[in-house]
């Protein structure tokens, strides 16, 4: 076995390697900074700077005949706030993300709970099964829902075939379709976040609780649930932020009838070519999402079991 791998340096060799580096003139205390430097550069160059450019551009004007006008004004933000078309899209986006988050929590919790109960190998296999949807392309998975929800899809076909449904149900291009499709995509993140917090609970605490007279239900309510709050927080932050900004799934399953914020950005940037307004929409979504997440975090922290977040 070991011959097929390059030999690991012994501690002494490793120390010598470090010494060589130090001899080249790099001060030892700089090492950690040098290690994070590439990632930091990439973050700054590919994320921070573009975001800054986007932010500035959201204050620019636009004229279909002239193109982008490099002025600084808040007209894009005023336009968004004053037009119910945009406001509704924002509310719809938040509503969908909220529903997806809540449903993923409700559906994901029992799964994570069960995963935490089963031992060793079974858990590994089940975890893989839960992750397996992530191995399939997002687009393919979403088109899968089309096959299920479409006018001639599985549900309508079966419904009519069994005589339960008269006319075909309109399932596609509804908020429900978007919620179901998004939920499917992001559920694994919720399950994994919950699982990791459940795994952190000392099993002795369950014994202590039942020893003190808690039946299984009250044990869950008073011990398991509060102690899994960090997982609930992490899971819902991940799922909410991913769903609020998701584009592919709402675009395919909701189309132009269920316009979400990401869809509006796409429309402004690629159909209307009004990049400054697209930038403003993106920023409004970003700021509101961050605000909601912060408030949510605060509320949980200030709550009765805030101590579990420390």
């Amino acid at each position: 076995m070991s011959s097929s791998f390059p030999a690991m340096p012994s501690p002494a060799q490793a120390a010598r390697l470090v010494l060589v580096r130090t001899r080249t003139g790099v001060k030892p205390y700089l090492t950690p900074w040098l290690l994070v430097l590439p990632a930091t550069l990439m973050f700054v160059a590919l994320f921070l700077l573009p975001m800054l450019a986007l932010f500035v551009s959201s204050f620019h004007g636009y004229d279909p005949n002239v193109g982008i006008i490099r002025v600084l004004s808040v007209q894009n933000y005023v336009k968004f706030v004053s037009d119910p078309y945009y406001r509704e899209a924002l509310v719809r986006t938040l509503r969908i993300a909220l529903m997806v988050t809540i449903l993923s929590g409700l559906l994901g919790y029992p799964v994570a709970y069960h995963l935490n109960q089963v031992g060793g190998r079974t858990r590994t296999y089940l975890t893989l099964a839960i992750l397996s949807p992530l191995l399939v392309s997002l687009v393919i998975r979403t088109f899968g829902w089309l096959i299920i929800l479409g006018p001639n899809g599985v549900i309508n076909f079966l419904g009519r075939g069994l005589g339960i449904l008269g006319a075909p149900l309109k399932l596609m291009y509804t908020e429900g379709a978007v919620i179901v499709g998004t939920l499917h995509v992001y559920l694994p993140f919720m399950v994994l976040a919950l699982l990791s917090s459940l795994q952190n609970i000392d099993p002795n605490l369950y014994q202590a609780a039942s020893n003190l007279g808690a039946d299984p239900v009250r044990r869950f309510v008073h011990v398991t649930l509060p102690l899994s709050l960090p997982g609930i927080l992490a899971g819902s932050l991940i799922v909410f932020s991913l769903s609020v900004s998701s584009f592919v799934t709402p675009a395919i399953l909701g189309g132009a009838r269920v316009k979400v914020m990401a869809y509006l950005v796409w429309e402004e940037d690629l159909v209307m070519l009004n990049w400054p307004f697209g930038a403003a929409i993106a920023f409004i979504l970003l700021v509101i999402t961050i605000a909601i997440m912060l408030i949510y975090h605060r509320i949980l922290e200030a709550g009765r079991y805030g101590v579990v977040f420390q």
Binding site: D202, N204, L205, Q207, A208, A209, S210, N211, L212, G213, A214, D215, R218, R219, H222, V223, P226, L227, L229, Y305, V307, V308
Partner: protein, 357 residues
């Protein structure tokens, strides 16, 4: 009538037999310790009593009633875990109040009883703290208060002192026992620390490999161990193998493999030729300058270990290492390493055990 009675308890994990017939009776208010090496089944026994797992055979009776099939939350037992298992998301007050809330005790009554419990464990004034803001000793007290406040039928303690530092551990031994006496609660205490067991217990059940080897008071266990294992595990022993030469009127004469003749007292009926093991506690051995007594043997002093309160002499006798422990009184100058010394004992201090067949 026994408050807690275990009859021939068996427990098998998959294929591993963890308990092979444990029987034990504990009277009301008694403090009984399960003592044994790691993995001998102490925690398993406690978990069976607490109802966290079900036995594969035998019967457990609490207060005269069999508890088979009764889930743990209906058994009304108090347990203190080795790692305390305090609820990290609850304050000290809420931790202690937990069991009372589960019993739907009313609010004012809860406050009163939590206060009383905190006073009992000598730790008032920290109700608003969270467990991680407490020291190990304080956590231990909270865990004890939490177990006692529900006024359980039986208190179960699983190595509650093993996470404390040596000094605190010794203090808590005494204090835990005082609290237990104050409440008068039947207690099963688990430890693998023999000194702890000797100091604290009314009776000790020495366990080994899923079985109880001997049950008795600390003095009985120490002075009259019933098996080789007990003699080795509780305290130290100088052991000799040999066979019975003659046995008459409670006095047994043993000839060891080295050819040494050792006389012992025993109530058991031994027959000449029986293979036996002879054990003598280090502190029962007297050290003299030269062989001057009939029961004494000549040995070479190899090392002297100074332990403060006592001195341990390691001596060699016929390729066999012997240990004698002396109180640190009088001059130690007479102990010169390499010199010949005499080791003596009186025959009532000799422990006679059945040897391997």
């Amino acid at each position: 009538m026994a408050d807690l009675q275990l009859t021939d308890i068996r427990k098998i994990f998959d294929t591993f037999v963890a308990l092979r017939g444990v029987s034990l009776e504990i009277a009301r208010g008694e403090f009984v310790t399960l003592l044994g090496p790691s993995g001998c089944g102490k925690t398993t026994t406690l978990n069976l009593i607490a109802g966290f797992i079900e036995a594969d055979g035998g019967e457990i009776m609490i207060g005269g009633r069999p508890v088979t099939g009764i889930p743990s939350h209906k058994r009304n037992l108090g347990m203190v875990f080795q790692n305390y298992a305090l609820f990290p998301h609850l304050t000290v007050f809420d931790n202690i109040a937990f069991g009372l809330k589960m019993r739907r005790v009313e609010r004012a009554e809860i406050a009163r009883r939590v206060d009383r419990a905190l006073a009992l464990v000598r730790m008032p004034g920290l109700e608003r703290r969270y467990p991680k803001q407490l020291s190990g000793g304080q956590q231990q007290r909270v865990a004890l208060a939490r177990a006692l406040v529900i006024e359980p039928a039986i208190l179960l303690l699983d190595e509650p002192l093993s996470n404390l530092d040596a000094k605190l551990r010794e203090e808590m031994r005494v204090e835990l026992r005082e609290i237990q006496r104050e409440v008068g609660i039947t207690t099963v205490f688990v430890t693998h620390d023999q000194e702890e067991a000797l100091v604290m217990s009314d009776r000790i059940a020495v366990m080994n490999c899923g079985m109880v080897e001997q049950v008795g008071t600390p003095a009985e266990i120490y002075e009259r161990p019933a098996t080789n294992f007990v003699a080795q595990f509780v305290g130290e022993s100088n052991c000799f193998r040999g066979h019975v030469e003659e046995s008459r009127e409670g006095v047994v004469v043993v000839k060891t493999e080295e050819g040494l003749i050792i006389r012992a007292r025993s109530d058991r009926a031994w027959r000449p030729g029986d293979r036996v093991q002879v054990a003598i506690r280090p502190e029962k051995i007297q050290v003299g300058e030269s062989p001057n007594r009939p029961a004494a043997i000549a040995a070479v002093l190899e090392r002297v270990l100074y332990l403060g309160a006592s001195v341990r002499c390691l001596a060699r006798f016929h390729q066999r290492k012997l240990i004698a422990s002396l109180p640190n009184v009088g001059p130690l100058a007479r102990l010169t390493v390499g010199a010949e010394i005499s080791l003596g004992w009186s025959e009532e201090d000799v422990i006679l055990l059945p040897g391997d067949a």
